[in-house]
């Protein structure tokens, strides 16, 4: 059993709940933001996960077990959020999004190997690449780059009202594309 290492690997235990929190808050928040798309809800749901999970956690639980438990709690919390406020589940956390325990040799200090935003960026890039160019452009400007409608219209050389229409059509097409890809 490794005792002297300070960084956390799958078999180690956390010293206290604060360590659990510090090591996982970014990951849980990232998971939630990817599924709700706004800060207010992502923050509330992150809080709900930790508040719900802290009681049942045992001090002897390994880092891997704690992360798995937090992920399972996050799935339940997200499902509850959608059902409660929207009557149905709009997005779901996959059953096994678990980041594998860091490989001791090349992991420097316990950071999750995959940044939270990377998966979301890859998914969006794939979605956009399947759209006609104009649709991809308007969605990229509005959603990824945070352009206002006005700035988007200027960048694309179209009127504001045309930019709005283009955005709606593009989003609808993107939604269809996602439906086709989804199982």
């Amino acid at each position: 059993m490794p005792h002297t290492r300070l960084r956390l690997v799958g078999d180690d235990a956390y010293p206290d709940w604060e360590a659990v929190y510090q090591d996982n808050v970014d990951r849980v928040y990232g998971m939630m933001f990817a599924k709700v798309g706004n800060r207010a809800d992502a923050e509330d749901l992150t809080a709900e996960v930790f508040l719900a999970a802290l009681g049942p956690l045992r001090v002897s639980a390994t880092v891997g077990e704690v992360r798995a438990y937090l992920s399972a709690t996050a799935r339940t919390v997200l499902a509850g959020h959608w059902r409660r406020h929207y009557g149905r589940e709009i997005t779901m956390l996959a059953e096994l999004p678990e980041v594998p325990a860091p490989v001791p040799d090349d992991d420097v200090d316990g950071d999750p190997p995959v940044p939270a935003g990377a998966a979301a960026a890859a998914e969006a890039a794939e979605l956009l690449s399947g759209l006609p160019e104009k649709y991809g452009q308007v969605l990229r400007l509005r959603f990824l780059q945070g352009y206002s409608v006005r700035d988007t219209a200027a960048a694309l050389g179209i009127s504001v009202s045309n930019a709005k229409v283009l955005q709606h059509r593009a989003l609808r097409r993107a939604a269809q594309l996602m439906e086709e890809v989804a199982p």
Binding site: R39, E123, Q176
Partner: protein, 246 residues
């Protein structure tokens, strides 16, 4: 109609606002998913604010302290006897919280006495009580009107009694929630304490937030949060999903 709701959802996401709640229909769900996927891909989107991380840490410290006071039975549902995060020689959690709590305004501990004050007076968002949050899903149910939307402004709350079930609806932070009116301890009927924005049990000084979360109690075992109802707004009315009239 449906298109307008999705558009509002999308524009809320783009403006960084909490989206409005509504009952989602099929075609809406797909567009919402696409919008969320795209919005989440904005650089930095998945990184929490520093203030949030700090504040949640403080709330967790208070939560851990309240669980300590409530005893092991009041802890989460997953393990009958959760082993607290404490090792011999470490500061007790309560002591640790007392120190961190002073800086943060130790509302959760001050004046608690024999009471288990689960949450400080700050109204939003309440801490989780013990036990899972449940939503009532009757085998046979229907949408039943409990209030006019106009009678339930932001921050407003109202009681309802449908014969088969009774509860309270409240609009907070733009969303409407409905909870049972029965205390989860022994079933006494809760009263709406409007000034304090909470539901009080007349029997044993237990209080719940309008969202159903346990706020305080004097019981050996913390009662679970109030069951929720599915709730929606339709044609200017607030409706809950409840069993039909007996």
């Amino acid at each position: 109609m449906s298109e307008r709701r999705v558009n509002r959802f999308v524009s809320d996401l783009l403006r960084g606002r909490r989206p409005k709640r509504f009952r989602v229909e099929d075609p809406e769900a797909a567009e919402m998913r696409a919008a969320i996927t795209l919005r989440a891909a904005r650089p930095g989107a998945g990184t929490p604010r520093e203030e949030f991380v700090t504040d949640l840490r403080r709330r967790l410290a208070e939560h851990v302290a309240s669980q300590d006071e409530a005893g092991p039975d009041a802890a989460g549902p997953e393990l009958a006897q959760p082993i607290p995060f404490r090792r011999p020689g470490e500061l007790s959690r309560r002591r640790m919280v007392a120190t961190t709590g002073i800086a943060a305004g130790a509302a959760a501990i001050v004046g608690a006495g024999a009471e288990h004050l689960i949450d400080g007076p700050a109204p939003e968002p309440p801490l989780a009580g013990s036990g899972p949050e449940q939503t009532l899903e009757p085998n046979v149910g229907q949408w039943r009107t409990v209030a006019a939307s106009a009678d339930l402004p932001e921050g407003g709350a109202a009681g309802f009694d449908l014969g088969t079930v009774a509860g309270f609806v409240a609009r907070q932070n733009g969303s409407v929630e409905a909870v049972s009116a029965m205390c989860t301890h022994l079933g006494c009927k809760l009263a709406l304490n409007r000034p304090a924005q909470r539901l009080d049990c007349p029997c044993h000084n237990t209080s719940f937030a309008l969202g159903g979360q346990l706020l305080r109690h004097q019981l050996p075992i913390a009662p679970p949060p109030l069951p929720k109802f599915h709730v929606r707004e339709e044609n200017g009315t607030v409706q809950v999903f409840a069993p039909p009239e007996a």
